[in-house]
Symmetry: C2
Subunit: 241 residues, 2 copies
């Protein structure tokens, strides 16, 4: 009835500990893992990211992920327990990557440099890690069943803090009056569209893929448009046109 097919989190069943995710038993005695364990988990999560990005939660199959990761299917369950848990691991990984770029938005920074840096970093992420962006987008698109709580607990406070910085800049007359929270929505949208909807962009531009040149052009466009929108245009030493 819910929508997402998979059964519930399922806590029953023991399965040799080795969670490494939830509980933190970690190896204690011997068997130094040669770093193999983490390497395996990483390989699986990365493969899962690609597959989930390409087909969504429902469309992705464990068999496909296993193949992409180069391990037999039962290993996925050995390491992550269930499809849902693996999916969640992918999302957590993305979230960390996601929040980081906002670090440059601090009250002591210079508005234009800070915003420009933020936007450029977001654009860079869109080009270099499109899969992560797509998994995230897919999750939101379908109502964020897995991370609605995270949005409220983690993203909201972060935006509140960063928006406060923007509001202060505005109050000090250092940039135009924009709605600081909606500004973030617009920046996220404008930048991540190059990851999420790359096919559409390529199709419209008539490119097979977004090459270096196209990436630069896109970046300059977004940076320019938004900075101007924020009243932060002006002579920059760098390029422009």
């Amino acid at each position: 009835m819910a929508g997402r097919p998979g059964r519930e989190p399922r806590s029953g069943g023991r399965r040799p500990q080795a969670k490494g995710r939830g509980g933190v038993p970690r190896r204690t005695s011997r068997t130094l893992p040669r770093g193999n364990r983490e390497a395996q988990e990483k390989a699986i999560v990365e493969a899962a990211e690609r597959v989930f990005a390409g087909a969504g939660f429902g469309g992705a199959t464990m068999a496909e992920i296993a193949q992409a990761a180069g391990v037999p299917k039962p290993n996925l369950h050995y390491y992550f327990g269930s499809k849902q848990a693996l999916y969640r691991a992918v999302l957590e990984r993305t979230l960390r990557e996601w929040l980081e770029p906002a670090d440059c938005i601090v009250a002591t920074a210079e508005p234009r440099a800070a915003l420009e840096g933020y936007i450029r970093e977001k654009m860079r992420l869109s080009f270099t890690c499109p899969y992560a962006s797509r998994v995230w987008a897919n999750e939101l698109l379908h109502g964020a069943p897995e991370l609605r709580a995270t949005l409220v607990r983690t993203l909201r406070p972060l935006v509140r803090r960063k928006a406060a910085v923007i509001d202060r800049w505005i109050a000090e007359g250092r940039m135009a009056e924009v709605d600081s929270r909606h500004l973030f929505f617009t920046i996220w949208a404008a930048t991540q569209t190059y990851a999420d909807f790359a096919v559409q962009i390529c199709a419209v531009l008539g490119l097979a893929k977004l090459d270096r040149v196209a990436q630069e052009r896109a970046t300059e466009h977004v940076v320019g448009l938004i900075l101007r929108g924020c009243g932060l245009a002006g002579s920059r030493p760098g390029r422009r046109k």
Copy 2:
């Protein structure tokens, strides 16, 4: 191997004509359908739109769609043949809705009024038809397996035409120098984010849903930011602040 699970288009099997989609046999003899046929198709497509939007192609099930439409499952196949065909019908429907607002961007129009109207219409659509936007987004997100051809054949020419109009306005010095095609990407992204990622926006804003007030605020923000970014700001009779 492909990704999308469903088997291929499958042309085999006859199934009583009544395609109504591909071939155009349409009713010829008697049986004036009381308008029932189209009503049924419409109900099914609308239900499918909701379900596909909520779970993606892979996650949606025909049974769910049937239930949402209030008809038994075989009817879906009777009217649309396959899950893929139904999905395609939903996408086609969306495309039409999608292209329409661009009508207001014509060379004879006044730049600011035209762009503002376009953005406002896009925002309105995001708020009133979020499902359509989400299905479309989902399709793009997963590589547009179903409509890559459509993007190139329909969307690309449209953007080419509209971008030419913008370029002309720029050449005439009536607006700032922006990359006209990327401007469309940004507008689409900034507006549709309110449909596609509504959960995230609500979570950040601390709202249960985007009420009228939030919608207006969002609209004014996007309109203001982009117009300013295009060098089209200026005294408007209306609001601001």
